[in-house]
Symmetry: C2
Subunit: 357 residues, 2 copies
């Protein structure tokens, strides 16, 4: 059994909540759902609630304009509602401004927020405003599930098919272009889609679902720990990475799998469909003009295995997930360590090729 607590982020959550009582109306266990699922007394409906702040992303310069920060604050929360297939009722805003922020920047931030709401046909319901040195945007999203069918991060079985809601890698490619490369990449497009409609379909056919807000490998690792099962991503990266991502990797000699390893995700949904539901699911998906991206299979052994250049490569996902905190959140050290990991993998492959000969 791969323990959740081996991952520093999970460990922190366990520590913070160790003395909290859980609501008897709460359906999901700690860590096991992207949004909290609460029965609404006296009804058959279930409330889905999630909260997420944009803080470090502003301070690090990753979201260096407030329009993007506002848009992402909304999208990150809607992404969690998507992962449980909830219909949004609306969002609560918790904005912390530096008192020196000019009206122009506040307008940009609010426009990012309202554009993202408009795109998802949802609403800001209310909020609170605070002042501090550091700008920060907190959002809490509230959604509803009316038909009693629940999906969480837990529930897949060996042999289930693993899909993504869309092509992958753009979150980390954007972060690389913004923070780590020279100017020629800084225009890398980052426009995560809102997957609310897709999430409602996934809820009906899938056995588990989680969004890739922390990157694809972190998502697979978390699903592995929660389900005590593994994932074999048999598809080739050319088939499931975004074409812009592939181009950026080529141009910068960046190993493509690092766009799955980094912690700035693309806000797609990873989900598993039992074999017997797969044909029906795919045809219903096509009805809403959506083409889920096939990645691979759920396996009985808890491990994450990636097809890296046609070699099925088991990954040390614990090390990958803890790496950013291990390097004290130094983004340059982080990339350096990831590149060392890539080199080790490549050397290992050469060694295997040697012994095969």
């Amino acid at each position: 059994m791969q323990k959740l607590e081996k991952i520093s982020e999970n460990n922190l959550i366990s520590y913070l909540t160790k003395n909290f009582r859980r609501s008897p109306e709460q359906i999901n266990a700690l860590q096991e759902s992207d949004a909290e699922l609460i029965r609404i007394p006296g009804t058959d409906s279930v409330l889905a609630v999630t909260t997420d702040s944009i803080a470090e992303e502003i301070q690090s310069g990753l979201y260096d304009n407030l329009y993007l920060a506002g848009k992402m604050a909304v999208l990150a929360n809607l992404s969690d509602l998507s992962a449980v297939g909830a219909k949004p009722l609306g969002l609560m805003l918790n904005e912390t401004f530096n008192p020196g922020t000019c009206n122009g920047n506040i307008d940009l931030l609010q426009k990012g927020i309202s554009d993202a709401c408009l795109e998802a046909n949802t609403f800001i319901l209310g909020g609170d405003t605070n002042f501090s040195d550091k700008t920060q945007i907190g959002v809490t999203a509230i959604g509803i599930i009316s038909d009693k069918k629940i999906i969480t991060r837990k529930g897949c079985g060996p042999g289930d098919n693993l899909y993504s809601s869309g092509k992958l890698g753009s979150g980390n490619a954007f972060a690389f272009s913004k923070l780590l490369s020279d100017k020629q990449n800084s225009g890398f497009p980052f426009n995560p889609k809102c997957r609310i409609e897709e999430g409602q379909l996934i809820r009906k056919y899938a056995s588990c679902c989680m969004d890739t807000s922390d990157g694809v490998i972190a998502t697979l690792d978390q699903l592995m720990r929660i389900n005590n099962l593994g994932f074999e991503v048999v598809s080739e990266m050319n088939d499931y990475l975004n074409s812009d991502v592939l181009e950026l990797c080529k141009k910068n000699s960046l190993p493509a799998w690092l766009t799955l390893a980094g912690i700035h995700g693309e806000f797609e949904l990873l989900f598993t469909i039992p074999e017997e539901n797969t044909d029906l699911f795919i045809s219903v998906a096509n009805l809403i003009n959506w083409e889920p991206v096939y990645l691979g299979k759920v396996t009985g052994e808890p491990s994450v295995i990636l097809n890296i250049n046609i070699v099925m490569t088991p990954l040390n996902t614990e090390k990958i997930r803890n790496l950013f905190s291990y390097v004290n959140f130094d983004i340059h050290e982080y990339l350096k360590e990831l590149l060392i990991m890539d080199k080790t993998i490549e050397e290992h492959k050469e060694y295997e090729n040697e012994t095969c000969r």
Copy 2:
């Protein structure tokens, strides 16, 4: 008509939300409810949602231990649910830590949060953790109203009786003792009560309700603007200020009404009961061992009139509410200006006495 926008805080809210669309399921208008009220599609229930962060209170040293900060973060939000008479379903946490915060302080904070939840028999449902220089605790509270009877800040009529859920002044007395006086007062007790049960009663009998989180005068001023009516507080302060508050004022020669004027409230509920409901309301309140505190009457003229030393004194509530931002959030200047206002009132009274003679 006293415009909402004359108050800088209201003005900021209008500015921030000017381009936001409102949900067709939202019952309350902007500013007109302590918690947002949203119809839950497919049910007869109404969701009540509110969000409030503790940020400035930590930075100013007002909440100089994290146990109190945690407790108040929960209580401030539950107070908003109380004001609409909702039953809490639970709370979402949004914690921002300084990376240097020691485990002992984190434990204190979490204990404040869980103690406040236990007291109100509610639960933390989930949350998000961020890191920044400045510690900040955001909470979003979610509650439910199942019986279709709604109360907001709007709806009182001339002649209605004005009550408070408990004795007043402790919020500002605490702030004075903490930030403005010498050490001898620093142990001033500040233990706001959770008014969830009372709120559910108020909802059934009252015509409007608002909590005093920003102080009593700010609350009356806001209700005045929203209802375009006035309030005459005929009761004497000795009868409705907390005895500890009266003692602190005496010891520090502080005019007692300033504990209603300051912006750090006591988290009681101010509400209005139509004359015809009053007897029944009071007897039902007594059944749960609760004694609402009588303050005065709703009047037809939009003004706030306080009984200051047996003289009915109209207050410039616009000036009082805008004062803290007017003095650039300098707490010492703020007190100085409030004392000048008090002196003007006293001189005016002497002048009136002169002319009466």
